[in-house]
Symmetry: C2
Subunit: 153 residues, 2 copies
DNA sequence: GTGCATGCAAACGCTTTGCAGTCTG
DNA sequence: CAGACTGCAAAGCGTTTGCATGCAC
């Protein structure tokens, strides 16, 4: 994860905390650190486990509320792949990307494509839509799983 | 909704029913009829309401299991927009489409674009992925809502 | 008749919240 | 100190399922 993105996130969060009169607590700081430092797209469960690897005591509700806070601050984004639990990732500052998801091993690769973005805008325009956001996910098998998937396993 | 698509769906379902030794019941037939005839993307709740407008007695579980059956038969597809309840739509036979969703009025417009499809395949290939399926949703405001959205309302 | 289908109600899994106690600023 | 924050436990909500009864074939 690029350090600049993390720094940008911390900065934005810091501002938000001040503006909203939020407080820094041991748990909150910890969850934020873990979220920012661990790459990927993690569920609340996973985040809680990761946090607990560092200290022993953080409630699920606190993780939940902290991620909500991060979303309000515009630092985190919630995603739903399949019908699993929500996953969180660092918000995009200016940039944008979509996802390739391996249905066998769960691997998630990010991609972005200006051609598709452009094309989308055209389509929306043609239908009189004003685009706010979009979501584009490609599901399949990653290179490592293509050959050796017994499905059942 | 084009009659051919409905017919194709009925045919496929019929075959599946026979193959699997499934039975036709009053409720099941009714749910299937409603699902096939009512356009759009409906939730189980909505489908149950629609069915009950025709007769008085169909349990939620039956709607649930019937839609599951339709999915197994390859006649229905489940979709999740936002974090709402699942919505069902008639499966695509050969074709494929994606969605434009109005965040103000809930209107859903279907679209398809070969350029995007092609581009997707390229991207997947580049990452060593074998594509199974994808999902592409564009959220925004439809023509009717662009001007007069008070947001709060 | 046999066996799938139905409907109710309860179980589930994730998400969200009330509340009493704790801690930050 | 006041007001936020935490953790637990319980409530919500949509989704699934067990079971006794009913119906299609």
């Amino acid at each position: 994860m690029s350090t600049e993105r993390i720094e940008a996130a911390r900065e934005r969060l810091g501002q938000y905390m001040v503006e909203q009169g939020k407080k820094n607590t041991r748990q909150r700081d910890l969850i934020v650190d873990v979220f920012l430092e661990v790459e990927g797209h993690h569920s609340l469960q996973e985040l809680q486990v990761l946090v607990r690897q560092r200290v022993g005591t953080v409630g699920y509700a606190t993780v939940y509320r902290t991620m909500k806070l991060l979303m309000d601050a515009g630092v985190a984004v919630e995603r739903h792949f399949g019908s699993d639990a929500a996953r969180f990732e660092l918000a995009e500052f200016g940039t944008h990307h979509d996802h390739l998801i391996c249905e066998a091993c769960g691997k998630i690769v990010e991609f972005e494509d200006p051609v598709i973005e452009e094309r989308q805008d055209q389509i929306a325009r043609r239908h009189g839509f004003q685009v706010n956001r979009h979501r584009h996910e490609i599901y399949g098998l990653c290179a490592g799983c293509v050959g050796n998937v017994t499905d059942g396993a």
